[in-house]
């Protein structure tokens, strides 16, 4: 269909003379947005190329390593078994992790809601809100695992350290999510109650709470999924118990990859159930 266009100016010139048009017609203006997009892509690609070519592989023989990985994956996913711990022990550990996730999500939701109300731009005075928001940004910047490690020296290793560590990040995350939902509320809704002379917390529970319930529930369940993943991680890296600790012991100390596979399947089962609940709840609230 298309012949000799664009690529070779020498061939294209004659057709120009018949229909004189001094300049090529441009299809777009260069905008800040285009510059930024190109800039971001080019820098990311350059950084990646640099990183990959300078990656320290400690002289690992890649072919052997990948073959080994395949064997491990085969043991894990094709031939899983409950190993030396047995199903009941693993189930109990899984239960601990699930409970950790639920408790820290509840703490995060309750504390997060009150902080969110105090931090939202449309409800409180600017300085106070900004203070809470930047404190939360600091807390979020520290990885959950570090919170757990810090608390485990401060209050001693155990569930208390794990719960406090996981809660900190939950609170900070949910405060941000909730306050963004609150800030999206139509100001008229709030004003309507303000003119009736309603008190601050009356407005919160009569106007704000009912309006944001759907996004509240949806964010809380997203956080529950994250907290479960974090509970597993904290169990492994901070020795805080639960299925994560079992995972760490079997894969790092006893190298029983059949059992690792079994544990991974158990964890996946829980995450799929959580995802399913989250999707159903969202549909339920969207339908209303």
């Amino acid at each position: 269909m298309i012949t000799k266009q664009g690529s070779d100016p020498l061939i294209q010139k004659p057709s120009f003379n018949k229909n004189p048009q001094p300049e090529k017609i441009r299809l777009r203006k260069t905008s800040a947005s285009t510059w930024m997009i190109n800039g971001v892509f080019i820098s990311l690609i350059l950084i990646t190329l640099y990183t990959l070519t300078h990656l320290n592989t400690e002289n690992v023989k890649m072919a052997d390593a990948f073959r080994g990985l395949m064997m491990t994956l085969d043991q894990m996913f094709i031939h899983p078994n409950a190993g030396s711990d047995g199903f009941m022990v693993l189930l109990e550990a899984l239960g601990v992790s699930v409970l950790l996730a639920i408790l820290t999500t509840i703490i995060g939701a309750v504390v997060g809601f009150f902080l969110a109300v105090l931090a939202s731009r449309n409800l409180t005075n600017a300085y106070f809100g900004a203070g809470i928001r930047s404190a939360m940004a600091m807390i979020r910047a520290i990885p959950t695992i570090l919170w757990a490690l810090i608390f485990s020296i401060a209050v001693g290793l155990g569930p208390t350290a794990a719960i406090l560590g996981l809660s900190f990040h939950s609170v900070a995350y949910l405060t941000k999510a909730y306050s963004e939902s609150i800030e999206e509320i139509d100001p008229a809704t709030i004003d309507a109650l303000k003119v009736t002379g309603a008190k601050f917390w009356t407005i919160v529970f009569q106007a704000i709470w009912p309006t944001i319930i759907p996004s509240l529930v949806s964010w809380t369940f997203i956080r529950l999924e994250i907290n479960f993943a974090n509970a597993v991680a904290v169990g492994a890296a901070a020795g805080a118990g639960g299925i994560g600790y079992q995972l760490f012991v079997t894969s790092g100390l006893s190298f029983d990859f059949h059992e690792v596979g079994y544990i991974v399947y158990m964890v996946i089962a829980v995450t799929i159930v959580l995802e399913f609940i989250a999707v159903r709840l969202r549909q339920h609230y969207l339908a209303k």
């Binding site: 269909m1 298309i2 266009q5 664009g6 057709s15 090529k24 017609i25 299809l27 777009r28 203006k29």
Partner: protein, 252 residues
């Protein structure tokens, strides 16, 4: 000439969406398809360019059957059929000019299309068309910056640059205010007469259909219950079509 014979489609077994649709349209005609929502208007329209695969029948465009076309034949047939959508369906982040030129993609080699390379002639034609729909000063603006009525006019220009024999309009004015609706409808009507092409539009405004269309097809529960010149659509026909009496609004 566009001819549809015995067109049928069902999405679920034993629940026909369309049964035995037959009509014939000559060039230069503006046809409105009306009927209650869910009657099958969109299914008919999208069968015509095979965005929806129907189950049975014949769709002949100047004697060529669209339904039996293979992949590359279908591409060639589709470029003769322009389409305009309720939500404009533009690539919002690209410029007005680029969106108009998208109408040329069916004529280009895959590579040239992928790279977005167009000939100067194509670009000039696109600018001419933008002039025609009154948007020449917006050529290098992003579509996201336009109003609804302007976006729909970009959609019209995109359809026209295909050099179509038929233009399909899927609820072209359902998202527009009254003034923009009138502009778009009038523009479509003038253009199809000038270019002597067929235009088929799904509409839910009966008054606008009667005002602008030459021929009206009425669909109810997937069956054709009316097919005649616009003047013949009287209150009785409307009642039969919608089940209840619909008040006929005065054209604005």
């Amino acid at each position: 000439m566009l001819e549809v014979k015995h067109l049928a489609k069902s999405y679920q077994k034993d629940k026909p969406a369309l049964t035995d649709i037959n009509f014939k349209i000559d060039p230069g005609n503006f046809v409105a398809i009306i009927g209650p929502s869910g009657a099958g208007k969109t299914t008919i329209l999208r069968s015509l360019n095979q965005l929806i695969k129907d189950d049975a029948g014949e769709i002949l465009l100047d004697g060529e059957d669209i339904r039996s076309a293979n992949k590359s034949e279908l591409r060639k047939l589709r470029r003769q059929i322009g389409m305009i959508f309720q939500n404009y369906n533009l690539v919002e982040r690209l410029t007005v000019l680029e969106n108009v030129l998208h109408g040329r993609l069916g004529y280009k080699s895959t590579l040239a299309g992928v790279m977005g390379r167009y000939t100067e002639d194509e670009k000039r034609e696109a600018l001419d068309l933008l002039d025609k729909v009154g948007l020449s000063e917006f050529a290098l603006q992003r579509c996201s910056e336009l109003s609804g009525g302007q976006k729909q006019r970009v959609g019209i220009a995109r359809a026209l640059i295909q050099h179509p024999k038929v233009i399909l309009c899927d609820e072209p004015i359902a998202s527009l205010d009254l003034a923009s609706s009138q502009v778009v409808m009038k523009m479509l009507k003038d253009l199809i007469q000038e270019l002597n092409i067929i235009c088929i539009a799904n509409l839910h405004q009966i008054d606008l259909a009667k005002e602008h269309a030459d021929q009206i097809i009425g669909i109810r529960h997937g069956k054709m219950v009316f097919n005649d010149v616009a003047d013949k659509l009287d209150q009785a026909a409307i009642t039969e079509l919608y089940g209840t009496a619909v008040e006929e609004k005065e054209p604005a």
